[in-house]
Each structure stands twice: as structure tokens, then as C-alpha cells.
Amino acid sequence: MMRYIRLHRIFIAQYLKRLMEYKVDFMLGAIGLLIAQGMQLIFLGIIFSAIPALKGWQFEEVLFIYGFSLVPKTIDHLFTDNLWMVGYRIIRKGEFDKYLTRPINTLYHVIAENFCVDAFGELLTCILLLAYSIPKLSIPFHWYTIPLFLIVSIFATLIYTSLKIMTSAISFWTKASGHITHMLYMTNDFGKYPVTIYNKAVQALITYVIPFAFTAYFPATYFLTGKNPLFCLGGTVIAGTVLFLLAIFVWNRGLRAYESAGS
């Protein structure tokens, strides 16, 4: 474990060096990111200025849930972005060979190799939304609120990451699966709003099938109301754990099916 943490530091340092290697690209990327995030904030402002309340949810509560949804999404984006490349390129081109000939866990190796600074833009939005909404809400605050928040964020992140691992691993059989990951990822938009605004089918889908509701809505409502901790937080922990175990299983089965590419 210590070894992997040490390795991760080295990988991140190397990633940053690689980033500096292309200065123009880096600068343009950073500017683009600021513009994109600014647009998103303006867009949210427009939507919520038109709809002051959503099915009994007041404006600040909706913002809090939205901001909360960005926490796991940002962490996942920051650390595991390279999984996209598994589905789009790494397996199809046989580049996965390299990971299999190294004495570290393949999943860890793929994930650690990249570090996505773009996520800092989302982090900014996330912090702004939470900083704006929290003071206006009467959130019950206890000594355990912050530790709980951190723990639940980790498991919510696991939900994102595990789904990404599973859909990427499909390419071990199909050679390419980037679009499947993309499709799944799009459904996470449902998780950004209070689930009560959707019909029963969508609610069931994002609660029990692709449990994005546990990445934001359920844990966020617990922090808002202090009610139902067992379901709201427990659900996140269970969903994160189960999906992660499943993801590891699918990944390992995938390794055996890997066919490389001709050379």
C-alpha cells in the first residue's frame, strides 16, 4: 500500500512534467477550462433564476445537491481519467501489453499514469456552489458531519470509478467500449438534481440499477435534513463497495480475454 502511494506521487510528478512539456497546449487548455466552467456557472444561474423552486425543493437546496454531485465526479475525474483511454485506444491498439509486463496491479497502473488537471475547473465550480448554498441553508452540524462527508465522498467516488472500470473493461472482449462509458456517464446528469422530480422508472433506474442517486441526491438530503442516515449514507457505502468488487471482478476476467494486437 505504501509502495503504491509512493508510486502515485512519482506518477503525478511525471505527469506534471509532461504537462509542462507542451506549454502552449497547457496554457490554452487552462484558458479553455476557465471559460467552460464560467459558462456552466452562468448557465446554472439562468436556469435557477427562472425556476426558484423545484417540486418543493428550494433554490439553495438544489444548488447544494448539484454542488455535492460534483465532489465525487471531480475526484473521479482528477484521478482516473485514463480509464477512458482504455476503452477508446489502449486495448484496441494493443498498448495494454505494457501494463501486463510490469510487476504492479494493471488497473492501478493504468489509472495512476494520468492525472487530469482539467478537474480543477470542476472543483472550482463545486466549491463556489457549496460555498454559496451552505450559509443560506440551516444544515444540522455535528462533530461528525465533516468526517461523514469525507467518507461518503470516497464511496460516492467509488460508484463513478467502478462504473467506469466496468464499462472500460468491456473492451477486453469487444476491443473498444469508449462509447459505452460515454453513454453511461451521460446518465449521471440525472444524479445532479433531486430525484423526486423524475418519474418512478427513472428514479428506480438511478437508485438501483446505475446508482447515481447515491452519488449526490441521497447523501446530500441526509446532510440537509439529518434524516434516514441508514439508507442515504449506508446505500452509498453499499453501492460503492458492491460496484467496486464487481468492477475488480470484471476487470480481472477481462485480462484473461485480452487478445493484444498484431505486431
Partner: protein
């Protein structure tokens, strides 16, 4: 003691979807795939004792890379198994790969945007090479592979020859017991090829590293390998020493000489003189130099020389053993079978 590399009845099948040509064919394959099983490697068994350099050869598409990928743990065999250094790669991957080095000539395993030096420092962490040993190792690799002049350059700026040396050094950093080289000399000039060959020889001699090497350059085989395994269409067609291959093939020699007067060539008619067929003898002229290949089972060296000298004026003459290249060319064309 068991061999360092032991492979038993290795077999690898791939499912392949047969597509008819064109967009229509592609669409048809999407909805009604016509699957076919292709056997890339068919029942291959062999052993390599510790410290040996084995040449692994065969025409394109014979299944060489597939075998190497099974041996290195990248692919899982459909049936059969291999055990290397006492471990089954597919069962104990992480521990197994710690003691092997792998180079795929066609594909780099270095980080494209990192300076070479940085790549090695990352690999040092991945393989947990202690600092002291790492320094010593880098000095040694610098010396045999001459990395110094480009060690600070990003990998993407390296020439093919530099990249290949860098890749080989990367595979040797953790002092592996077994080194797998899949076409390590592909596309390189003679000087770099020689540098790489001498590095392989040195590693093998000084550290007793077992090496498996695939190549299309038969000079690699002649200069490095005591033994070869040849495969074709996924099957093993030959396994033995170079001398055995020469012997099995028939004792073919090459006679080379310079004519005083080029056009005299037409005076020489080996076929009629010794009643031979085209398979037994061949003569080619390039300007004033002539190359004659002949089978000593049919006609002796002495007879050949005396006939040649008595028929034409010769400036210079030498006779050589059969080149392995000739044998393999013929094998590839399936003109002989072993």
C-alpha cells in the same frame, strides 16, 4: 533441474469475424456475424535451459509474437501451459514479470513525453530497484548501449536506433533472469544492429541471462544463437542447433571467384559437366564476380574447384559454408522439409 523456459502444448485460438468487403459487408457482419476460429499457435512445446540464447524464427504471421505474448503472460493460452523460472505467468503475473524483461521492437514501452532519464527513474520505482544497484546498473547500461548522448531527450525525439537501445535498457534495468526480445533489430542500420547484438551477448555472458529472440535478420541468429526453434503456420517445424540445421539441409557450400574476363562465365556449365539439376547447383554472375552454390553430396569441393580453374581464368577464389539464410529462405518457400 527444470529448464528456465518450459512450454508444453501451447495453443492459442482467436475468434475472427469474417466480413464481406464494403460497407454492406461490414453492416451484415454487425448483425449476422460469421465467426471463424483461427488457430494462431498450434500445439507448440519446447524448452530453453538457463543461460541459452534461443532464436525464434518463422515467416510473418507464423505465430511468433503470439508465443512470446503467452510466455510473457500477456495472452492466456487456449490450452497447454508454460512455466518460466518456475512460475506460470498467467497465475502469478506480478511476481513473474519482476524477473523478466520484455522488448517489443515494434512498440515502445517508454513514456512518449518523458525524458529518457525520467522514464528510468519511474521504472526503478515500479521494479523497486535499490538506489545503489540502480546507479551501478545505469552505468553498466550506459556503457553497453551508449545511452549517454540522448538520455536527457524526451523519448518522442529519439531516432529508431536510439529508441530501441533505450527500450532494451529499460527491459534490463531490474536485472531480469529471462529476456524476451521480439524483433529487437527491426529497421535498424548495421552499426546499431551490431551494438545491440554485442549488448545482448554481453548480458548473456556476464549475467547468464536466458534470452529468447525473434527476428527476420538471420545474421542475428548466426551471431547470437546456438539453437533455433522455427515455427510456421502456428506449428513447430524445427528445433535444434544451427549445425544440425545445416546438416539436415544438406551440405551446401558457396564458391565465390573473380573472373579475369567476365564474359568467360558462359564457358562454365556445371549442370552438364556433373549431370546436376537446378536444385543441386546454381551459378550467378555480377560483373566479373561469380557465386556458385552446390550440394557436396552430389559433387565434391575438389571437383568443383578443379573444373572451374581448368575452364576459366580466375583471379581470386574462396569457398564458404552454407549460409543459414539460404536454408531458411528455402524453408520459408517450403522447398525442403525437415
Amino acid at each position: 533441474m527444470e529448464a528456465m523456459i518450459y512450454a508444453e502444448n501451447l495453443r492459442k485460438e482467436f475468434k475472427k469475424i469474417i466480413k464481406e468487403p464494403g460497407l454492406k459487408g461490414a453492416a451484415k457482419a454487425l448483425f449476422k456475424p460469421n465467426k471463424e476460429i483461427v488457430t494462431a499457435v498450434d500445439d507448440i512445446s519446447f524448452e530453453v535451459p538457463a543461460g541459452e540464447i534461443l532464436g525464434f524464427i518463422g515467416p510473418n504471421g507464423a505465430g511468433k509474437s503470439t508465443v512470446i505474448k503467452m510466455l510473457t503472460g500477456i495472452l492466456t493460452p487456449t490450452s497447454g501451459f508454460c512455466r518460466i523460472n518456475g512460475k506460470i505467468p498467467q497465475e502469478d503475473r506480478k511476481n513473474y514479470v519482476r524477473e523478466i524483461g520484455v522488448v517489443f521492437g515494434q512498440r515502445t514501452q517508454l513514456w512518449w513525453d518523458l525524458a529518457l532519464r525520467e522514464t528510468y527513474s519511474v521504472l526503478k520505482e515500479i521494479y523497486q530497484v535499490p538506489e545503489e544497484q540502480f546507479k551501478k546498473r545505469m552505468t553498466f547500461l550506459n556503457e553497453v548501449l551508449e545511452l549517454d548522448s540522448f538520455i536527457t531527450s524526451p523519448v518522442r525525439t529519439l531516432s529508431l536506433g536510439q529508441r530501441m537501445r533505450a527500450d532494451i535498457a529499460a527491459a534490463l534495468l531490474h536485472s531480469p533472469k529471462v529476456l524476451f526480445l521480439d524483433e529487437p533489430t527491426i529497421g535498424l542500420d548495421v552499426v546499431v544492429k551490431e551494438n545491440i547484438r554485442s549488448a545482448i551477448r554481453k548480458i548473456n555472458e556476464e549475467e547468464g541471462t536466458t534470452v529468447i529472440l525473434t527476428t527476420h535478420d538471420l545474421a542475428d541468429i548466426e551471431l547470437l544463437c546456438e539453437r533455433i526453434v522455427m515455427i510456421d503456420k502456428g506449428r513447430k517445424v524445427f528445433d535444434g542447433g544451427l549445425s544440425e540445421l545445416r546438416h539436415n539441409f544438406g551440405d551446401v557450400r558457396t564458391l565465390r571467384f573473380e573472373l579475369v574476363n567476365g564474359p568467360d562465365f558462359k564457358l562454365l556449365d556445371y549442370r552438364r559437366r556433373f549431370k546436376l539439376t537446378d536444385d543441386d547447383v546454381s551459378a550467378e554472375r555480377d560483373g566479373s564476380s561469380v557465386t556458385v552454390r552446390f550440394d557436396t553430396a552430389k559433387v565434391s569441393v575438389e571437383e568443383m574447384i578443379s573444373y572451374t580453374l581448368s575452364t576459366v581464368h580466375v583471379k581470386d577464389l574462396n569457398i564458404k559454408d552454407v549460409e543459414i539464410e539460404e536454408i531458411i529462405k528455402k524453408l520459408y518457400r517450403r522447398e525442403v522439409s525437415l
